[in-house]
Subunit: 201 residues, 2 copies
């Protein structure tokens, strides 16, 4: 058997990612992936047992990419509010660029129930951790205090998920900012007091 090369593996995952990203799972065939990667079906199967294994590998990669993206964006921001906006914007942008990613995550979640690994877990755990860390830093810096951090974090990330899935497209300008401001000062904040309230955040 010939040696496996990371380069070739990467190339095939790239091709599979492209196809899973533009078609639904059941429409993608292993031979399409081989053609897209310009390798033979035999080569493809030498690296990946089946479509299931490929999509789990793609999901693990996407999960890791999102975490890197979140960290990079958060590091660039200057206040806790801006860090939360960076998180919201990074998540919306990431999923908008990968319209079928939700399907893959759901498929992986169901497969997890049947004992398979859940490669999206990294993004989930670390995403939650990043938001909680921003809350803690905001409190320490005297910027704002989130009274129930765990629940608030779930409300923010769960809400973002729903906006990504069901919100209008194309996205309204300033969407991430509006979401975070609504989250921090309340959806029912009187309009004329918004800027005043935000000044205190």
């Amino acid at each position: 058997m010939r040696t496996k090369t990371p380069f070739l593996r990467e190339k095939m995952l790239e091709a599979a990612g492209k196809l899973f990203g533009s078609k639904r799972f059941h429409e993608v065939r292993m031979e399409d992936i081989a053609a897209e990667a310009a390798v033979s079906k035999g080569t493809l199967y030498r690296y990946f047992q089946d479509k299931e294994e490929m999509f789990l590998a793609i999901l693990a990669r996407a999960s890791h990419e999102l975490v890197l993206e979140l960290r990079a964006r958060v590091a660039e921001a200057n206040t806790s509010r801006e860090r939360l906006i960076a998180v919201a914007d990074a998540i919306i942008t990431f999923f908008d660029r990968r319209p079928h990613l939700f399907d893959l995550i759901q498929r992986a979640e169901l497969a997890q129930g049947q004992g398979r690994a859940f490669p999206w877990q990294e993004a989930r755990d670390k995403g939650m951790r990043i938001v909680l860390d921003i809350f803690a830093a905001a409190r320490q810096a005297g910027e704002f205090t989130v009274s129930q951090p765990e629940t608030a974090m779930l409300m923010l990330l769960g809400g973002l998920r729903a906006v990504v899935r069901a919100g209008v497209q194309p996205r309204p300008q300033g969407l991430a900012r509006d979401i975070v401001d609504g989250f921090l000062i309340g959806a029912a904040a009187p309009t004329r007091k918004r800027s005043q309230k935000l000044a205190r955040v």
Copy 2:
């Protein structure tokens, strides 16, 4: 062929619902459902082609039940804030009583991608409509104004979904109220001002 009776159909769905509610999808066999309903496998198959058809029927029923529950709870409440708390509490309670419902919904969503009906759609559409109607009534009554109702509604329902899925169990007391208050006046509201702000909502 003998006549099909609604009573028997109901009885089998009840049994299937119980099994799907306590076990994972792939662990439930048609013969377990037949045994639970005290009918023969032949009778079961006369009503339902396969497990897939049964779980879609169960999901349609659960979807309808949730909508009825939401409407009943909302009708009992006296203010718009209380109506939102009723919605939040009804959703949390409904899913907590059916721990495997999420799995079934996800499975149905994936099946939808393959052209099957999505029986959870009713709960989704009507749940969103109920929340938007509460926002509109709150505005009309001069209680509070949600400046971006569509986004806010998605943030509330998506956030609730995440709390149901990943929030601590047993649920903290007053969870639905805390979620709605955080949603209305903001997660970063200074604690000492919370009651004051809520008085204005």
